[in-house]
């Protein structure tokens, strides 16, 4: 039996243009409406920024894969093909808003401004989270699936209690949507009217398991109706539509009108991680079809046609991408392992007597190793 083309392929494939977005709304009773056009307020400058972030993201992702092959990263989860979904979503946030990403959102997290070397600490193995969440207002990249959605809801609830007009955006995937925490997060956000935007990147696969084995429902966005919140389904490879849909949700949350579930239908062009082999579960034809909808190339094409970017700008972005990649190589190759004694320092605010004993034992082992 050949692998069925993921139902993601049947998602909205509109690409109406530079100031026009389109998406489908979930009706209160649970049906998905037809795609409707929306005007999106993006200046030429913002359109160039979106392209720049997507192009840089692609370069960062390619470099991360290479660094993994060369042993500088232990593993890496590529976002190639999902740049529009991630960059378009975080572009809708304001400076004080919070982002709750997973390991799949290195690109969105990079686009949010987290330093790329700090960001990749999880994969390089230097520390689990290499950046300061308070500095960037970005939570650590989470690996237990959908758990971070509840953290976003809690933070948003706290912001409401404190009357701070901020929004929390969390990503999760079509696989993670099957987790109980995803449901609890959607439901609790709805109950409390928490200012949260849930962006589900439906990329068709949870590692190898296709969408049709995650759910019988035709769309993850439909779950919004089940918890009484608005749902939107959008072409996740169309950055303008993603931005427009998420901006609508962000504005709604900031106004005090509660959470929204946005399903961005997209495709993971690379393997799940560098340790994965896609040939065991999906066809080349399917991937080729989606390469034809590459979000970065697609966006560049319309930007050129619209006269928003010229060759000089594209070259400038390319040079910036090369510089970023060079910086990744400089800092991630042969990065020092750090002092193993530090493993005892952050378990609690203060080291416990037990940890003092264990630290002394390690100290002894390290000294003995130095002397021999």
């Amino acid at each position: 039996m050949s692998v069925e083309v993921s139902s993601a392929a049947s998602g909205p494939s509109s690409f109406p243009g530079l100031s026009q977005a389109a998406w489908q709304d979930v009706a209160a009773e649970g049906a998905l409406g037809a795609a409707t056009p929306h005007d999106v307020d993006l200046s030429a400058e913002q359109l160039r920024s979106l392209y720049r972030l997507m192009a840089l993201s692609r370069r960062v992702d390619r470099q991360a894969i290479n660094l993994t092959r060369q042993g500088a990263l232990g593993v890496f989860a590529s976002s190639q093909g999902q740049e529009a979904a991630q960059v378009g979503a975080v572009f809708a946030l304001e400076a004080d808003d919070w982002l709750f990403p997973t390991y799949r959102e290195t690109v969105g997290t990079f686009a949010r401004g987290v330093d790329v070397v700090e960001l990749l600490a999880l994969f390089s193995g230097s520390w689990h989270c290499g950046f300061d969440p308070y500095k960037y207002r970005v939570a650590p990249l989470t690996t237990p699936l959908a758990t971070q959605a509840l953290h976003a809801v809690g933070l948003a609830m706290a912001a409401r209690i404190k009357h701070d007009p901020i929004v929390a955006l969390t990503f999760f995937g079509d696989g993670a949507a099957s987790e109980g925490d995803a449901h609890e997060a959607l439901n609790m956000a709805g109950v409390y009217g928490a200012p949260v935007v849930f962006v589900v990147q439906n990329n068709g696969y949870a590692i190898s398991v296709p969408y049709r084995l995650q759910t019988k429902a035709s769309s993850i966005a439909l779950r919004a109706a089940g918890v009484g919140i608005p749902g939107i389904r959008v072409d996740g490879n169309d950055v303008v539509s993603v931005y427009g849909a998420v901006k609508t949700a962000v504005d709604r949350a900031r106004r005090g009108d509660g959470p929204t579930l946005v399903e961005a239908v997209t495709y993971r062009l690379e393997a799940h991680t560098t340790a994965d082999d896609t040939s065991r579960y999906r066809s080349d034809d399917e991937a080729t079809e989606w390469r034809g909808r590459d979000p970065v190339e697609r966006f560049l094409r319309v930007l050129r046609e619209g006269g928003v970017v010229d060759d000089a700008f594209v070259a400038e972005v390319e040079a910036e991408g090369e510089a970023t990649a060079a910086r990744m190589r400089d800092f991630l190759f042969d990065a020092p392992a750090g002092d193993p004694r530090e493993m005892f320092d952050h378990v609690y605010a203060a080291r416990t007597p037990q940890l003092d004993i264990e630290r002394a034992l390690l100290e002894q082992e390290l000294r003995a190793a130095e002397e021999s």
Binding site: L150, G154, I161, M188, Y348
Partner: protein
């Protein structure tokens, strides 16, 4: 005034909320109803629905949102309605609540408290009498506290709420109605300190939570019936464990046993027994014994008294300690 343990916990929550605007209390039925054990009684009426509120029935959601709240500077105190219903939250607790400070290299501490009524002895139906302390004490990054008296319940809960790391606060539900004469506020003992509840010379009985009362009852009977003077040590903080106090007592008496409701195999008592054998070996006249529940699923109400350690089982064990 005379207060029950439930009343002392209620007073601790109220006083903490009055003193610190960042303290919020939530969970299943804690708002309007005041909690199934009334520990949160009256808090919503006094503090408002932003500070004390009911949640959907979603334990992972309760723990996960508490993390997000703490990340944003609040001090959430959340309730798991019963021990047996705290397990859906274990992924949040073990994977995130316990690890966040370490994961972020010390940048993000989580000042939150998860209250769990635990243990048996109230004739409850299945899943309402569990003793899950070993799961939490085994997890690095968690601080685990269990009071044995109303005074400690008040003081330790206040200290836990003021603490800068996540605390699993295990409330011995069969002792909710235990009474004590108290002048509030009771000064808080530092988290991480055990206490000698009764001095003695014959042997040391180490207990916590619901078994503190049982151990003290055994000590009274031992003195009256056998002339044995048992020293009773209340652990109070299960993690980090105050081994100093335990070692000092065991060294003094030369004999020690640990008592808990939870099953024996890989139970909390095994850790204490192992540590005492390492640190007080030369002073011990007998191996450290464990007096525990059996290695079976918690039994149904009509036979639970045969499962639970009582004064008789403790005294039998003391007798065995003295045979060496």
């Amino acid at each position: 005034m005379e207060l029950t343990m439930a009343g002392a916990l209620n007073a601790a929550l109220r006083d903490s909320m009055r003193d610190d605007d960042s303290v919020v209390v939530y969970g299943e039925d804690v708002g309007r109803l005041g909690g199934v054990f009334r520990v949160t009684d009256g808090l919503q009426a006094e503090m408002g629905t932003d500070r004390c509120f009911d949640t959907p029935v979603a334990e992972a959601g309760i723990a996960g949102t508490a993390l997000g709240m703490a990340l944003y500077g609040l001090r959430p105190v959340v309730e798991m309605q019963f021990d047996g219903f705290s397990y859906p939250a274990l992924n949040q607790v073990i994977s995130h609540v316990a690890k966040y400070r370490n994961r972020t290299r010390g940048r993000v501490g989580l000042p939150l408290v998860i209250r769990i009524p635990y243990g048996g002895g109230i004739g409850a139906v299945e899943h309402h009498s569990e003793s899950p302390e070993a799961y939490y004490a085994h997890t690095a990054g968690l601080t685990v506290v269990s009071p044995g008296t109303p005074a400690d319940a008040y003081a330790l809960l206040r200290a836990s709420i003021a603490f800068d790391d996540p605390v699993i606060f295990l409330e011995p539900k069969r002792r909710y109605w235990l009474k004590e004469e108290l002048d509030l506020p009771v000064a808080a003992p530092p988290i991480g300190e055990a206490i000698v509840r009764r001095e003695g010379t014959t042997a040391t009985v180490i207990a916590y939570g619901p078994m503190v009362t049982t151990a003290l009852e055994a000590a009274t009977r031992a003195s009256d019936e056998q002339g044995w003077e048992l020293e009773v040590v209340d652990v109070r903080t299960l993690s980090p464990l105050d081994m100093g106090t335990l070692v000092a007592s065991a060294t003094k008496t030369g004999r020690a046993l640990v008592v808990h409701e939870a099953a024996r195999f890989v139970g909390y008592g095994a850790e204490i027994a192992a540590e005492l054998s390492e640190r007080a070996f030369g002073y011990l006249a007998a191996p450290v014994l464990r007096v525990t529940g059996f290695d079976v699923p918690y039994p149904s109400a009509k036979i639970e008294r045969h499962f639970l350690p009582d004064a008789d089982r403790i005294l039998d064990a003391v007798g065995r300690l003295l045979e060496y």
